[in-house]
């Protein structure tokens, strides 16, 4: 798919954010994601949230683009050994400013997390445990009798978990 080319998108917000950081107006981008999305089995979004809200569309692009990589990884994984068939897919692809991580549940629901590239403090293991937390919370949403499978996620508990993983906007 041609939509994979997303690198050209201008990076105004990054510069702004850095400037703010230097002035100390903003806590550093540590340990946190900038965008978290949940994608249904049929590849439509169930939930998406990004932190610099003014540039939301860019993250929608990035997440959309990552789905091809997710598909690729899953189909390659079918042949792998049991201990390698993990739900966590690892780094999907890096762009200049962001790293995109993926996770697919057994029910083929995808979690995509976009993390700032400059954020070297975030280890693979931490990303994995963030995804686990997300998955646990998603399971609770699924088991809520008032939630219809396939609907947009509007649960406040889920929202709180996601917010706790994201960069705080000052």
């Amino acid at each position: 798919m041609e939509s994979r080319r997303v690198h050209w998108l201008p990076e105004i917000t990054r510069a702004e954010v850095r400037a703010k950081e230097e002035k100390g107006e903003r806590p550093p981008l540590s340990k946190m994601a900038v965008c978290i999305a949940v994608i249904a089995k049929e590849n439509y979004p169930l939930y998406i949230k990004s932190v610099p809200t003014e540039n939301e569309l860019k993250f929608h692009y990035t997440v959309h683009t990552s789905l091809d990589v997710v598909d690729e990884k899953i189909s390659a994984m079918g042949k792998a050994l049991v201990d390698q068939r993990e739900l966590y897919l690892g780094l999907l692809y890096p762009t200049e400013d962001y790293k995109v991580y993926g996770y697919v549940t057994n029910s083929k629901v995808k979690f995509v997390m976009v993390v700032d590239s400059s954020n070297t403090a975030l280890r693979d293991n931490e990303i994995r445990s963030m995804f686990r937390k997300l998955h646990n919370s998603y399971t609770d949403v699924m088991c809520n009798p008032f939630y219809n499978p396939g609907d947009q996620i509007q649960s406040r508990a889920f929202d709180n978990i996601v917010t706790s993983m994201m960069v705080q906007v000052c």
Binding site: I74, M77, E86, L87, N106, K108, T139, M142, C143
Partner: protein, 163 residues
């Protein structure tokens, strides 16, 4: 860990019995016929199955293929819900699976003779839905039917719908 997450077995059995009884009582008073009760129970099972499988597969590795999924249903899923494994799983490798349970938990409370045989289907509908819901959430569309010949034993036939 999964086992601890499931509520007490007795509660599940009581709730299930009351669900069946309640639905049929409502149907007797109202206009609905028996077929609708079976469908209702099946649909309830479907939704529960969807939720349960999401929870049970949280910590398992990704499934290799269809058979792998069926094995999971027969072993882990069945053990968590009914405290025992499926006794026999057979398949024609063309999308039909027969799951045989020689002592199905939801039928053990009834006497083993032929006396209540005609009432058996209503105690199997929920479980049919359970299987169908679980499979559907894992991406497999199916039709599940059940049959009983001698009382505590029953067979579930799963027909996979190829897309």
């Amino acid at each position: 860990m999964n086992k601890a997450e499931m509520a007490d077995e007795a509660l599940f059995l009581l709730l299930h019995n009351e669900m069946v009884a309640g639905l049929y009582r409502a149907a007797e008073q109202g206009d609905g016929e028996n077929g609708r009760c079976i469908t209702k129970l099946e649909n309830m099972g479907f939704r529960v199955g969807q939720g349960l499988i999401e929870r049970f597969t949280k910590d398992t590795a990704r499934f290799k293929d269809e058979l792998d999924i069926m094995k999971f249903i027969c072993k882990d899923f069945w053990t968590t819900v009914f405290k025992k494994q499926i006794d026999n799983l057979r398949t024609n490798h063309q999308g039909i699976y027969v799951l045989q349970d020689n002592k199905f938990r939801l039928l053990t409370q009834m006497s083993a003779g032929k006396q209540y045989l005609e009432h058996a289907p209503k105690y199997l509908a929920f479980t049919c839905g359970l299987i169908r819901g679980a499979l559907s959430n894992l991406g497999i569309k199916s039709i599940v039917t059940a049959e009983v010949s001698t009382m505590p034993a029953c067979k579930f036939q799963v027909m996979i719908q190829k897309i």
